[in-house]
Amino acid sequence: MTTLAPRVPSRFLPVLATVALFVLAFGVGSARYDGFASGQVIANLFIDNAFLIVLAAGMTFVILSGGIDLSVGSVVALSTMVTASGLQAGWPVPLVVVAVLLIGSTLGLLMGLVIHKFDIQPFIVTLAGMFLARGLCFVISVESVSIKDRTFRDVATAAIELPGGVTITYNVVIALLVVAAAMYVLHRTRFGRTVYAVGGSESSALLMGLPTTRVKVGVYVISGLCSSLAGLLFSLYMLSGYGLHAVGMELDAIAAVVIGGTLLAGGVGYVLGGLAGVLVLGTIQTLISFQGTLSSWWTKIVIGVLLLVFIAVQRTMVRR
């Protein structure tokens, strides 16, 4: 009840902390390795993690509403599989895109409905969704299917030149558009504010007469849509579809969102936090690859430590 404490910083503190962490990690890299502090290294962070940025944006909706979505990694894999085999079968690219997005959001809708109608924990339902989507991949094919479609390859390899000789891919543009859209929806629309309300207190939101059902189901649709879009981006990135793509990626997405300061309990957080979280994870990876001798498992260890630290910080903030 300390009403005199400055208000704005405390709300943004976790996001700012993450941004500071990113700057710090990047600063360390720049100081130690030549060529680290280049525009292209930053651009590569976005190129290599575009799909994760999109996943994190969708995951932010779910976590803000007080839920969790474990299915996103599998949905990414399923999307790559549908894309690759659809293209192989000669479907036109627009049809493939629509089909993939439709499958992703339908899966999300189904999970959302089950969670809501039967009042089952999201953890369980999306865990089931995770197995289901992963299984469906192997129904389509157990082998990796490579993508040879001309249009698709052209989009994947197209480079967009930015001032300063830095290049990015279309993936990055799409990911940033998704982040902007997510921010708009979360902060400027009734749906978005209701997501926060439900995460803050579902029973209160219901008694306030807010459309809690629509929101509780809707966040899973959004997450499903984002996962399938991320799947498309991942197909562009890998140029193949495979049932073992993106194993454990749901955990990366959750980690990014949590490191970005979004409370797992719901109601508090920002899409930008998730973006910052992805960049932190990406920078650590880049650092380790620049280091050269460390095994990539160090990434996991650092992520683990970071997660613990952030969750500890969150606990103390909530307790206060």
Binding site: M1, R7, R193, Y196, A197, L206, M208, G209, L210
Partner: protein, 514 residues
């Protein structure tokens, strides 16, 4: 425009033969209820009588097992509170049911926010929220987040939400339980304006004075059944109370008289000197003896709760010293306070204190065990005896230790919260609004219990917005104003008027809580 009583207009709400059962409890049995346009209708009954449940069947939270609800001549069956809202029923539910993580403005207007270009127009929203708040005399920043305001302000925000739209029915379930006299007057002013515009108002309160002041008609419930409907002018208090509790008033009065004044002279238990926290409360001196009841009187925002939080270590003091049992004590948090035998029953029972999804027994056992330390388990029999003892002492209903706290009526949850701290057998018990939302019978019992505890040597710091209660129960009264301790009075010779005068201090009552 009070309705001409000889020929009333048709009721806007008519509930006929409503029944509703929860597992193990018949919450409502064949209840009829009418609400007329342009009247304030009080719904009366003890804790657990079914008032909130009746309201929730009206607004679509619960579906009745039997009976019908007619709104403006049409039978309705709302399936969610949102639908009831669209049909013109604005409701303030018991307890603050808002989202602490959103801003005040969002809490007032979410769901009917002003828009621009398809998105929410935040500046317009804050402006509109500010206007609604000003209507009920609250001046806070609509852009601040709700959670940083005290419960009373949150309750006012909930009221603002209800009156922010035009409605034909306004339902207020215990809106005044944590308000001061000033805010209550302001609320009543607004209620009268709305009533005169033809709005039908349903009002619940355990304060009989308020009910008699504002209501035109009342419906009395007991144990889920309808006892009667009367014009307020036709029933006196005695009859009303007898109808509510189903027996005569005599027993109650006996309890009230028992609280006679004593002069405790136990050893000094706690001594605070120059204790303070910037922005919360100015440095104050305070001495509490074992077996003494010290009352804290002051308006909302005068620093009542803040003072208590300092003594409990919930907030850190930034000046002064605290001596307990003659030894200096540095409070690093509630835990060190609990270890020193200090208990704090908070005004925010929803946010702090109770675990709603656990049973009454588990809540009490948790508290007992936490106070003893986890390494020294209590024998099961002792636990059961203690739980049993407090269920009875506080008359918690249903008296079933396995009932989930979530399913209890508001007043009964308050009693469990109190029991939760009593079982820890503290040496200093800080009670912040312990009788909030508690019916008159139980209130007398709780006051009695406090007196008994004091007689057994427990020191009590008693905070209440209700001055009569503070004056009646306290051996000593500390008066706060504008976050400063301004006086200390002998409780045995002080009257309510004297305290009121001190609190007001000639200046206009301070309602702004920043």
């Amino acid at each position: 425009m009070t309705p001409p009583l000889n020929e009333p207009p048709p009721p806007v709400v008519e509930m006929r033969g409503i029944s509703l059962a929860f597992p193990g409890v018949k919450a409502l049995q064949d209840v009829d209820f009418r609400l007329f346009p342009g009247e304030v209708h009080a719904l009366m009954g003890e804790n657990g009588a079914g008032k909130s449940t009746l309201i929730k069947t009206l607004t679509g939270v619960h579906r009745p097992d039997g009976g019908q609800v007619v709104l403006g001549g049409d039978e309705v069956a709302f399936s969610s509170p949102g639908e009831a809202q669209h049909a013109g029923i604005s409701t303030v539910y018991q307890e603050v049911n808002l989202c602490a993580n959103l801003t005040v403005a969002e809490n007032i207007l979410l769901g009917r926010e002003p828009r621009r270009f398809g998105g929410i127009d935040f500046p317009a929203m804050r402006k509109r929220a500010g206007e609604v708040l000003a209507r009920i005399g609250v001046h806070i920043d609509p852009g601040s987040s709700l959670g940083e305001h005290p419960i009373a302000v949150q309750q006012l925000v909930a009221i603002a939400r209800a009156i922010a739209v035009d409605c034909r029915v306004l339902v207020l379930d215990e809106p005044t339980s944590s308000l001061d006299a000033g805010e209550v007057a302001e609320l009543f002013r607004i209620m009268r304006v709305l009533r005169d515009e033809g709005v039908a108002i349903l009002f619940v309160s355990h304060f009989l004075d308020q009910v008699y002041e504002i209501s035109d008609r009342m419906t009395v419930l007991r144990n889920g059944s309808l006892v009667g409907e009367h014009l307020t002018a036709d029933v006196d208090r005695r009859t009303l109370i007898a109808q509510m509790i189903g027996r005569d008033l005599g027993a109650l009065e006996a309890i009230e008289d028992a609280a006679e004044k004593r002069h405790p002279d136990g050893p000094v238990l706690l001594h605070a000197s120059e204790l303070g926290r910037r922005g919360a409360i100015d440095p104050f001196d305070l001495e509490i003896r074992a077996g003494e009841v010290v009352g804290l009187a002051g308006l909302l925002g005068s620093g009542r709760t803040e003072l208590a939080r300092l003594l409990f270590g919930a907030d850190r003091a930034d000046s002064g010293r605290l001596v307990v049992d003659g030894k200096p004590l540095r409070l690093r948090g509630p835990r060190s306070a609990i270890a020193a035998g200090i208990a704090f029953s908070s005004e925010d029972r929803k946010g702090e204190g109770l675990v709603a999804d656990l049973s009454i027994r588990d809540n009490l056992v948790l508290a007992m065990q936490a106070a003893r330390g986890w390494t020294r388990p209590l024998p099961r029999r002792t636990k059961d005896q203690l739980v049993e003892k407090y269920l009875k002492a506080l008359d918690i209903r249903p008296a079933n230790p396995d009932a989930l706290v979530r399913t209890l009526s508001g007043g009964n949850q308050q009693k469990v919260l109190l029991a939760r701290w009593l079982v820890t057998e503290p040496r200093l018990l800080i009670l912040d609004e312990p009788t909030r939302g508690i019916d008159i019978g139980a209130k007398a019992q709780i006051q009695q219990l406090v007196t008994t505890l004091a007689a057994e040597g427990t020191a009590v710091l008693f905070i209440s917005a209700e001055l009569e209660e503070v004056v009646r129960i306290s051996d000593r009264i500390v008066v706060l104003r504008d976050r400063r301790k301004i006086a200390e009075l002998d409780g045995s010779v002080t009257g309510v008027d004297e305290v009121v005068e001190l609190i007001a201090g000639g200046a206009a009552p301070e309602k702004v809580v920043s």
